[in-house]
Amino acid sequence: MNIAISTRPGRSATFDLVRRLPEYLTIWVPLLLSAAHLIAFSLWTIWISFTPSTLVPVSGWVGLRNYSAVAASRNWQIALDNLLLFGSAFVLLSLATGLILAILLDQRIRGENLLRSIFLYPLAVSFVVTGTVWSWLLNPGLGIQKLVHDLGWTSFRFDWLIDRDMAIWTIVIAAIWQSSGFAMALFLAGLRSVDADLIKAAQIDGAGPIRMYRRVILPTLWPITITVIVIQLQFAISTFDLVRALTNGGPGIATQLPALVVYDLMFQRSLLGRGAAAAVLMLLILLAVLLPYAAWRYVQRRQAIHA
């Protein structure tokens, strides 16, 4: 056996350090770069949000003025309203779609693998591509409405894309189409891991299929449901590409979302301080979702250890 354990007699600590330098560098450089960029970038953006920076970053202190300017702007208010509507509609509907699909696929049907691939393929495609395609389908002069008109039903109207009040729903549609498969995949995994004894016991008790799902199977899915909700909300809060490709925030600013406001302030209006403030507000919205989730996960884990 070799005797090369780290403490070699007669060799100094300095020599040891030099010998192991490549190892230390390989371990620390990538991790430090990653950690440092996360912390430094966040702190820097937060700092900029308190400065009067416009075209270039400058020092100075304006307190919460950037925040009040952003919060008072019509752009941001519309973005928040939209986020609330889009976030809740998208999360609820994609949850429902995903759950229904998972339950249907769990009925020992033929071609399950093929069907699963069909429901998941949109996730492999960029939001720019899907947004562009949906903008064609939902364009009243090009897509579904035009097709129905050409078929002879000329009073048919489906023009949400150019309707200020309904345009946000086109983003809901595209987002559901794109990411319900994700909810389905997680729910399906959950359904497959339901305790078989539990099901058998319920069958012996004479539970029918609907009762079985409502009383026995679905209650075991709620931890997965919470995970899906949180991930979908995280997606909703940072949605950018999809809107950019589908409506570009329009008509007017009817489909504005926080991420678009940040981009607009930073790179189109060159109001860096306000842009940074909007980004920090986005982070706060995200934290309002993630912190309770982290606390919940922590409690769950503690209970699992004590059980």
């Binding site: 390989t26 990538p30 770069l33 495609v125 591509v129 050409d150 498969g181």
Partner: protein, 285 residues
């Protein structure tokens, strides 16, 4: 197996599932068909229809003919840009993530769980919080509007995901294996090379597919940090639809969209199992 007989209720299940599947495939079918119809045909009818004559020339035009902004070289240069960003960034971030994941899970060192905890915060921090700092960093290093700049960004940011994936996978390897190898005199690199890497192919495939798909599909950094000829294909597609808004060329545009989507679609078709594994692994953070 039960239920092999065709009860009406089962027929209903098949009917519903097939209808939803058809709805899910419809957008893809529409683009594929449109990419084979002439611009004039689409302009006369709608975006939804069967090609009267097969316009294969759309693909040639989309690839190397039509104009994005002022340049008329088709989508090819932007596809090349995307490849030149995605491939190196995927390789670097996966390799570094594997080493980092091994270091924090098996090699262990003082402060490992702290630094790992910070790195995984990157999964949650919105891109918008990093946009301005990256702008400054790229400007000061002269990497603004270069593909190298995007490679650096995606490599460093990708580390959060790749380290998490690999670390979670490596924790299943018994610590005793590493301890025994260390007593035998094997160092950090030799253990990685001889023990860890041979056990890694499944997680490396998941990580590579995940990173490739994400970097290829990324848009915000591409559009913020590059312009004109340096843009990746996602940013070029947006520029294209803005450029042709007056005289739509939906046949050629559809072909361009298909070409842009093809790399990640192909990877999904080939490695779907691993793609889904990455998706669900990322979910149970």
């Amino acid at each position: 197996m039960r239920d092999r007989t065709f009860a009406p209720s089962r027929l209903l299940i098949y009917l519903i599932v097939s209808l939803i599947a058809a709805a899910w495939l419809a957008p893809l079918a529409v683009v594929v068909l449109n990419s084979l119809r002439t611009n004039e045909e689409i302009a006369q009818a709608s975006m939804i229809g069967w090609p009267k004559q097969w316009a294969w020339s759309n693909y040639a035009a989309a690839w190397s003919g039509f104009c994005v902004a002022e340049t008329c070289a088709g989508i090819r240069p932007y596809m090349l840009n995307s490849a030149l960003v995605t491939i190196p960034a995927t390789i670097f971030s996966t390799l570094l993530g594997a080493i980092a994941g091994y270091a924090v899970s098996l090699w262990r060192f003082r402060g490992d769980s702290w630094i790992y905890g910070i790195v995984t915060l990157g999964l949650f921090l919105p891109q918008q919080m990093r946009l301005l700092p990256w702008t400054i960093v790229l400007r000061d290093t002269g990497l603004m509007n270069t593909l190298t700049g995007l490679v650096v960004i995606h490599t460093i940011q990708g580390l959060s995901f790749t380290t998490l994936f690999c670390r979670n996978y490596y924790t299943a390897i018994p610590q005793e294996l590493i301890r025994a190898a260390r007593i035998d005199g094997a160092g950090f690199f030799r253990i990685f090379w001889r023990i860890i890497l041979p056990l890694s192919p499944p997680i490396l495939v998941v990580t590579v597919i995940w990173q490739f798909t994400h970097i290829w599909n990324e848009f915000l950094y591409g559009v913020t940090f590059t312009t004109g000829q340096q843009q990746p294909v996602t940013a070029a597609l947006i520029a294209l639809s803005a450029a042709v808004a007056d005289i739509p060329q939906h046949g050629v545009q559809s072909a361009a969209v298909m070409i842009a989507a093809l790399p990640t679609l192909l990877i999904y078709l080939i490695g779907g199992k691993y793609f889904v594994r990455g998706l669900t692994a990322g979910a149970v953070k």
